[in-house]
């Protein structure tokens, strides 16, 4: 059973904790980055021909003779997109990374639904596998959990770029996009995240890995079977090879962290043995510090 009986209780507790500790800084209480027809003043900008004269600040024009247009922050429902990696590499480990990923997806969705935000879950591997359509209301958590339970790990590859392209082609409104994946993307994780940035998505990366991936217990002559694409590689693993592997793995983790830091994305990296609620709390704490 993916979700134990007390899972909802833990989600509720997590939701309450998130409101009390991080009031005004989470999900639905966030303001969108869209400027529009809201009532809350944001800033001024130069008037240009064609602009709606109703938003011209006449008081400033009267005092200073400058034509400045008032801008207002648009108040709209926050759309939360949870991009869940369903590639077969997520099935690695004990417990599998995929289990923790689904727990996290459910937890984040519950918190968002509880704050009256809209959520959508996009399962992806080498592309979009399936989708839980955009929805709102706390009551939708149970169908979402059933949907998550039914999700298998599949695909022959991990391609975040293709997934994001598919998401954007569907005309999805910008919002908060949480990528839950191990980011073992041979095509490069940067392509997908770049597209999210370009489309003004507020992106957050939740990168999971198994301890054996960081420190594999291999030595000698072995056949390495890639469970994602079933490719087999006969190698002789030496101490030196192991050291190189660990170095490359850490470099990969560092590159993800560095990318998110450089572009202002939220980033949470964790081994898959950490409980989901602890990880959610850590993620929200980091988001609060970032703001």
């Amino acid at each position: 059973m993916l979700f134990p009986p007390d899972f909802l209780t833990r989600l509720e507790y997590l939701s309450i904790m998130s409101k009390r500790v991080f009031r005004g800084s989470l999900l639905a209480q966030r303001r969108t980055m869209q400027m529009g027809s809201g009532i809350e003043f944001s800033d001024h900008r130069e008037y240009s021909v064609g602009d709606d004269l109703r938003y011209l600040d006449w008081n400033i024009y009267a005092r200073h003779g400058d034509l400045l247009l008032k801008r207002f922050q648009e108040e709209r429902d926050l759309h939360v997109y949870l991009l869940l990696d369903c590639s077969r590499s997520m099935a690695f480990g004990k417990p599998a990374k995929f289990d923790l990923a689904r727990h996290l997806t459910a937890a984040l969705a519950y918190i968002a639904l509880a704050d009256l935000d809209r959520i959508a879950v996009v399962a992806f591997a080498d592309g979009i596998i399936s989708e839980f359509p955009i929805t709102r209301g706390k009551a939708r958590i149970l169908p979402l959990m059933r949907y998550l339970e039914s999700l298998p790990t599949t695909g022959q590859d991990t391609n975040l770029g293709r997934t994001v392209r598919g998401l954007l082609h569907r005309g999805s409104r910008s919002g908060l996009a949480v990528v839950i994946s191990d980011l073992f993307d041979e095509h490069g994780f940067q392509a997908g995240l770049d597209q999210l940035r370009y489309r003004r998505f507020d992106a957050h990366v939740l990168q999971l890995h198994d301890p054996l991936e960081a420190d594999p217990q291999l030595l000698g002559d072995v056949e390495l079977e890639d469970i994602e694409n079933d490719s087999v590689r006969m190698v002789t693993v030496t101490e030196k090879n192991l050291r190189n592997y660990k170095r490359l793995f850490q470099e990969h983790q560092f590159s993800v962290r560095e990318y998110c830091t450089n572009y202002g994305l939220g980033c949470t990296q964790s081994p898959s043995v950490v409980p989901f609620d602890e990880l959610v709390m850590r993620m929200m704490r980091m988001s609060a510090v970032g703001r």
Binding site: F92, D221, I227, T236, T238, Y245, H252
Partner: protein
């Protein structure tokens, strides 16, 4: 090439599973990983499982197969034909006589010989068989034929020098028997060359006789050796061994010549294939020793004892020193002496002691009695600087004389210092328990218990009845074997008359007349021995004869149970006889089995082994006494026979007999080796082997170890990088 264990070649079948495992190893372990993304980058510079890596696997298989092959060959124990043909059978004869304790070679001759044998064992060739025989008082095979060097070393280290003479010739004969008809037999004799004075005699004899007469020659040799040893104890001005072998002994060398390397001497008298190679480890060191030390009770003085001591100066320098005599650690005399070169000095000393005990003689203050002479090399053997003797103790006896009055009878007891005399002139109401009762004429109807001496009984008793008077009896029959009649002659004693006595029980006649009437008898009563003399002391001249005090002294000694006056000191290595009279039967002896009727002979004389006797050496080692012959006593000092006394509360041991053991051998005290022995001393070079002396399996194992290291290297390259 042949194999000692060809069946071990079957072990080569182990190669099959090795190859099978190698083939199975091609199917590598399959490990699932979440992605090959990083592994691709790891191996992106160098393709995985390159040709060299595959080759390394093949090399590893070859190394393993070669390793197995070498081990199988080693287990099969291969050898070459020339190794089998050149294998030797060697018997090492190690002299363990007392002279090997001499310290002229540091730390001692024996240790130097042992070290030399260890060096020889270092160069032992493959398939050589070695046995070790110790040549003490009797030759003993310490270890039979063996090729395992550590075992040989352990056996060699277990050999210890003794305080006895060397039976070197018997040991060599035993060694030859061990070799048998082996084509490459060798006898290596490690000695100090001193015993070869006797060996030279044997060699001369052996050249003249055949094998069948060999045993007879050995007897003659032993007799010659014994006569030489006997003459050593006599007082003479020159060394007895030098006298008996004057043709063979030359002046000893003055310089250190131990372990000389020279041509080996081969004795081919008995067996043409057996080489006898002598290794002489000795210098021409001098020595002064006690060659004879005996003590005995005086025949004249009841509390006196006599000591016979002989010293021998076995050096080329005049020696002076002193002889310290101690009785039970108390000095009794210090005798200075001066000895010329090769002089034997003999003295007899008389002393008195009632208690007796252990008498010890020690040489001290030894110095060369010549200017500019080296005093350090005049006495290099400490074993013969001390000697011991046992002086039997005297017991004071209480004597109650019941007599109407006879001065001679009273005086003959009072003259003995070992007697406390009490005289009464009528029969007492009660009789003392531990006293000897002398009944002169006055006889009670019931004889008292204990030891009795009855002289001239006037009336009957429960043990006898008085018969007719014997007129002018002439004593013609005496029991010469009885200790009661030692030094007594009654045939010339004037006896006017004597009482005829008819004994109720069986009596042992000690003296009887020509007509058969008993004059002096011994009654073996159940409640104590009783001597009966039927001679009238007033009317005969027996009281005026020396026979009378001797007769009384004999009776007192017999009552006291003193077995003899002399307890001779034993020469090292000899056997000693147990005095069964001094040993009390144990509780085990007295216990009878109700269901089985005991053998009367066993009841009266239980076996020695059942008496719980232990022989205690001077060093404290205990061995059980199983027969009347104890020994060999191969350590100088005092040996004790102890008997466990099982008390109700605690068990303790009691010393029932003691033996004094001395070296007492002039041949062993003379440490100067013969020049001929030194000249014939064989070197080690001919005995040890070349570098390639180890068995083939050894080199196979070394090679296998190298291959094992190669495989380890390949494994490291393959896995650890």
């Amino acid at each position: 090439m042949s194999f000692a264990v060809p069946a071990a070649l079957m072990l080569a079948a182990i190669a099959l599973p090795i190859i099978a495992f190698y083939i199975l190893k091609v199917r590598l372990r399959r490990m699932k990983v979440s992605t090959n993304l990083f592994w691709k980058q790891v191996y992106e510079e160098k393709p995985p499982r390159s040709l060299w890596q595959n080759l390394r696997h093949i090399l590893s298989l070859l190394a393993q197969l070669l390793l197995l092959l070498l081990l199988v060959l080693a287990a099969a124990d291969p050898y070459f034909a020339w190794q089998a043909l050149q294998a030797r059978r060697i018997v090492i004869v190690l002299d363990t006589s007392a002279s090997m304790r001499a310290t002229d070679i540091s730390p001692s001759r024996f240790e130097a010989a042992r070290a030399s044998i260890h060096r020889f064992l270092n160069g032992l060739r493959f398939r050589d068989e070695v046995a070790i025989v110790s040549a003490g008082h009797q030759p003993e095979v310490v270890l039979g034929m063996a090729s395992h060097t550590p075992t040989l070393r352990r056996a060699l280290d277990s050999v210890q020098p003794s305080d006895t003479a060397a039976a070197l010739e018997s040991a060599i004969e035993l060694a030859k028997q061990l070799i048998g008809d082996h084509p490459n037999g060798q006898v290596l004799v490690y000695s100090d060359g001193c015993a070869q004075r006797i060996a030279a005699v044997e060699t001369t004899l052996l050249t003249a006789i055949d094998d069948e007469k060999l045993a007879g020659a050995n007897e003659n040799l032993s007799q010659a050796a014994n006569s030489a040893s006997t003459s050593t104890s006599s007082s003479s001005e020159t060394a007895p061994t030098t006298e008996s072998n004057s043709e063979l002994v030359e002046e000893p060398a003055d310089e250190f010549v131990g372990e000389l390397v020279g041509e080996s001497k081969r004795d081919d008298q008995q067996n043409a294939t057996v080489q006898v190679i002598h290794h002489t480890l000795a210098t021409a060191a001098g020595n002064v020793g006690i060659t004879q030390f005996q003590a005995r009770r005086s025949l004249i003085d009841p509390v006196g004892y006599e000591v016979l001591v002989a010293l021998f100066n076995a050096s080329d320098l005049p020696i002076k020193g002193r002889l310290d005599l101690e009785l039970e650690e108390i000095p009794v005399d210090v005798i200075p002496f001066e000895l010329k070169p090769n002089e034997t000095w003999t003295r007899s000393v008389e002393k008195t002691s009632l208690e007796g005990g252990v008498l010890r003689a020690t040489l001290s203050q030894l110095a060369a009695n010549a200017p500019e002479s080296d005093s350090e090399q005049i006495n290099t053997l400490p074993t013969d600087d001390r000697a011991w003797a046992i002086i039997p103790p005297r017991q004071v006896q209480d004597v109650l004389i019941v007599s109407p009055g006879n001065l001679f009878l009273r005086k003959v007891f009072e003259a003995n210092p070992l007697v406390n005399v009490t005289v009464v002139n009528q029969l007492p109401d009660s009789w003392p328990a531990q006293s000897i009762v002398v009944l002169h004429r006055l006889i009670p109807p019931i004889l008292p218990q204990g030891q009795l001496l009855v002289i001239d009984p006037e009336n009957d008793s429960n043990a006898w009845s008085i018969g007719k008077m014997i007129e002018n009896p002439i004593v013609t029959e005496q029991d010469e074997d009885s200790p009661l009649m030692t030094h007594i002659r009654l045939d010339n004693v004037l006896l006017p008359e004597a009482q005829e006595i008819k004994f109720g029980d069986v009596a042992t006649t000690l003296a009887a007349t020509v007509t058969g009437e008993t004059v002096y008898a011994l009654l073996n009563r159940s409640d104590g021995p009783c001597l009966v003399l039927s001679v009238d002391l007033e009317r005969s001249d027996l009281a005026f004869r020396t026979t009378f005090p001797i007769m009384i002294t004999n009776a007192l000694s017999w009552f006291a149970g003193q077995p003899g006056e002399l307890q001779p000191s034993v020469a090292g290595g000899q056997l000693a006889k147990l005095n069964t009279a001094a040993i009390s039967p144990t509780e085990t002896d007295n216990r009878t089995d109700e269901t089985v009727a005991p053998d009367p002979s066993e009841v009266n004389d239980p076996p020695i082994r059942q008496r719980g006797l232990q022989l205690l050496s001077p060093a404290g080692a205990e061995t059980a006494v199983l027969s009347q012959q104890v020994g060999p006593l191969d350590e100088i000092g005092i040996w004790d026979i102890v008997q466990a006394q099982s008390d109700k509360e605690e068990s303790q041991s009691q010393t029932v007999q003691r033996f004094a053991v001395n070296l007492a051998n002039a041949a062993e005290s003379d440490l100067r080796p013969e020049e001929a022995a030194l000249a014939s001393s064989g070197g080690e070079g001919a005995l040890t082997s070349a570098w390639f002396s180890r068995p083939v399996w050894f080199y196979l194992i070394v090679t296998a170890t190298a291959f094992c290291a190669l495989e380890w290297f390949l494994y490291q390259r393959r896995v650890i990088s």
